[in-house]
Symmetry: C3
Subunit: 337 residues, 3 copies
Amino acid sequence: MAKSLGELASTLGCEIVGDPDASISAVATLALGQPGAISFFANQAYSEALRNTKASAVILAEENVSLSPTNAVISSNPYLAYARIAEILYPKDLFEGAIHSSASVAKSASVAQSAYVAAHAVIDEHCVIGEHVYIGPGVVVGPRCNIDAQSRLLANCTLVQDVSIGKRSTIHSGAVLGSDGFGNAMSDSGWVKVPQVGGLSIGDDVEIGCNSTIDRGAIGDTIVGNGVRLDNLIQIAHNVVIGEHTAMAGMTGIAGSTVIGKRCMFAGQTGSVGHITICDDVVIGAQSYVSKDIREPGIYVASFPAEKDKDWKRKVVRFRNLADLFRRVGKLEKGKQ
Amino acid sequence: MAKSLGELASTLGCEIVGDPDASISAVATLALGQPGAISFFANQAYSEALRNTKASAVILAEENVSLSPTNAVISSNPYLAYARIAEILYPKDLFEGAIHSSASVAKSASVAQSAYVAAHAVIDEHCVIGEHVYIGPGVVVGPRCNIDAQSRLLANCTLVQDVSIGKRSTIHSGAVLGSDGFGNAMSDSGWVKVPQVGGLSIGDDVEIGCNSTIDRGAIGDTIVGNGVRLDNLIQIAHNVVIGEHTAMAGMTGIAGSTVIGKRCMFAGQTGSVGHITICDDVVIGAQSYVSKDIREPGIYVASFPAEKDKDWKRKVVRFRNLADLFRRVGKLEKGKQ
Amino acid sequence: MAKSLGELASTLGCEIVGDPDASISAVATLALGQPGAISFFANQAYSEALRNTKASAVILAEENVSLSPTNAVISSNPYLAYARIAEILYPKDLFEGAIHSSASVAKSASVAQSAYVAAHAVIDEHCVIGEHVYIGPGVVVGPRCNIDAQSRLLANCTLVQDVSIGKRSTIHSGAVLGSDGFGNAMSDSGWVKVPQVGGLSIGDDVEIGCNSTIDRGAIGDTIVGNGVRLDNLIQIAHNVVIGEHTAMAGMTGIAGSTVIGKRCMFAGQTGSVGHITICDDVVIGAQSYVSKDIREPGIYVASFPAEKDKDWKRKVVRFRNLADLFRRVGKLEKGKQ
């Protein structure tokens, strides 16, 4: 979809420096930008790419306008402005309401006229599928699920049962929502499964990444707040509560009944033990895990970045010999007295 | 399903203190318990919730009976008793044997009359599906699989081939069992795949979590013992052997040919290298990994919990300067002589 | 499939010591080898198993021939020779081109006559499926995907859209390719999704493990080079580039826009931050993560193997008391002057 630069900028309420009639039909990186493309500059590391870009326009902050070799869109948050322009240039596929002839929809399920149910999808008993909802191919929606307007379940994801999803949320392919949590009681003859009888409630404007898993509550619901963003391969255990606009990068795992605040950010491969509370505005660094309540906003971390094998091994030897060093220092101190 | 408290208690062989005619129809947490609900008390942290509970009954140990503000069921293992009562109150969905018209069942497959095969499920050649087995929607059972009585394969899980599953086991949605292991030999022109020709054998009363993956053996079988419990997003490589009643929390990964004993417990995001042996009754702490044989039962760990960014960074600087500290102490010792 | 030992050896260009007419119909470990089986010896730890093997033949290096109690195939790379012999003994299932009656193929899609499309598979608009391609049951191939000759998409994997796959590659069950990357810009009212408009390009002779996820590019493509091997449950973020013949073990995660060289090896549960470059021939040790550019080939690591709880806790206490130790040593040094 081609738009004039002026039209794009005015939709966002941004000023432009340059030609408002420039035609924009694509987004591109600064390095790969070609005529017709718009790019953005938000990181000084890309200054040279900016200087050499062949894109027809660049979104950048006011103080950087002089660096632009081409038409400029001025924004205090160039990445956000880029996201909004990309949304206009690449509108979501439209679809008309329909149920594919190979889909299997239970009699007690209610599917809005404007919803689309793709090939080989299954909608089980007592489900309610709202207006303009998209159910992709191979998706299974188990009994008693409720999908509100404009949400999208992409190919081959699974809602096991008793899942409620708000408006405009997207569940990516392969995700599994509403499965039994990991509850086991030890008996004389081995583990006894603890029946999981709660549900899973997901808010509006949520994204759940591919092959992520979110269990239903053991008793009561697991809860994912409005605007939460989960990347791929994330595990959220039973009765976890995730506050609004919290974001988690790939492979994060949260154990049961932990309550996480709003606007938190978890880096990749992070984790948390169960039954703790993490307050609002907490950031967890890469490959770190949380072992107890966090009551103060801020950055929390505990991981070592990889270094040369030999260097690391030497450090580990010293770490192992710390007891000896403490002893030696104690002895020196005594000798002094 | 509603039962009298007396009936529930006598099924478990437990004494009650209070009204045996109290009607119980649901489980609840202490905090959310309402009339008609039964809860349990197994953790002193919830003493106040116990004192204030509105549940009609609470399961607890004899020494805590006096703390209960309501009818009490006495058990030396309240969580186990809770599991058994929940099982009675929330019986598994019953189903009648049937094959959904959209399922695809190979001619050479044998499906018991009492088994259920759901919409869009696929059963490949030479499979044997036992009595009262449940095959969920979208499940693919590849060639030569054998599913014994009362086991359940939930929606969209996949058995690639040559998988045998015992009685009463549950494979959760999205799990992939019996796939090729990761075997590659380097040649002059790149990796050559090592054909994987073994199978996968899963015992009775096993649970495999959502989106977990268990590879078939390279030569000979991968083996998961009776009563094993695996959480979501777990990876078990080719020719691993997992002993009976071992439990693993989410995101654990076990590399090839490792042999794990009975009743072990792995916390979340743990791992093990391949080709080692871990004895019975070993516990691995959160985010830790095992690098060599473990021959003695006990708890093993090596991870640091996250702390404030600044505090952690200071510790890392000291850790990096240990060489210098060792030198300085050596110098002091020399100076003393 | 049975072959004579002489025929197998000559196909590989290997010498044999012993009976060229020995009939070989299976592979086996040294320990479980029976008459008719061929095994290999590549690790001195298995010397005793070699001495006692009942296999009809063993592949080993010239210097170990005298250790063999049975017919020997001589190879300087016994594991590679084993892989090639196993390939001959266990040929891949052949199939004839066909589209299962329950598959759903879009009108604008092109499927080669020799390709097979299994039950309940879905091929969306504008896809091109090449010669002898295998599309397994429940697979979803979204719009505009291109699968080149002899590649195989196993049961229940998903190509979301705009994925191109080269020749002879295998995508294992449950993998999700070409999904939206994790791009979010913060606005006053919460996260705004950054439209992901790139594709995913996968080379020839690639394997992608079960339930792994590879996102399409945000702008421009995510790229997986020829001969790359990815194990199960791996996450590759948007715009990552993986060089030829790089291999990653299970649960590795690579963040966005990172560029990885050729022939690298990542152990299990490893990771990398985004926007960095890792050169050719780098090895990353178990559970380690890379935080900045690596410009020199070699082994990089930073993780502690699990040890007894008590021992580890003592080390952690000392680690936490390092500040004090540095102070004490400083004081001693001052006292000396």
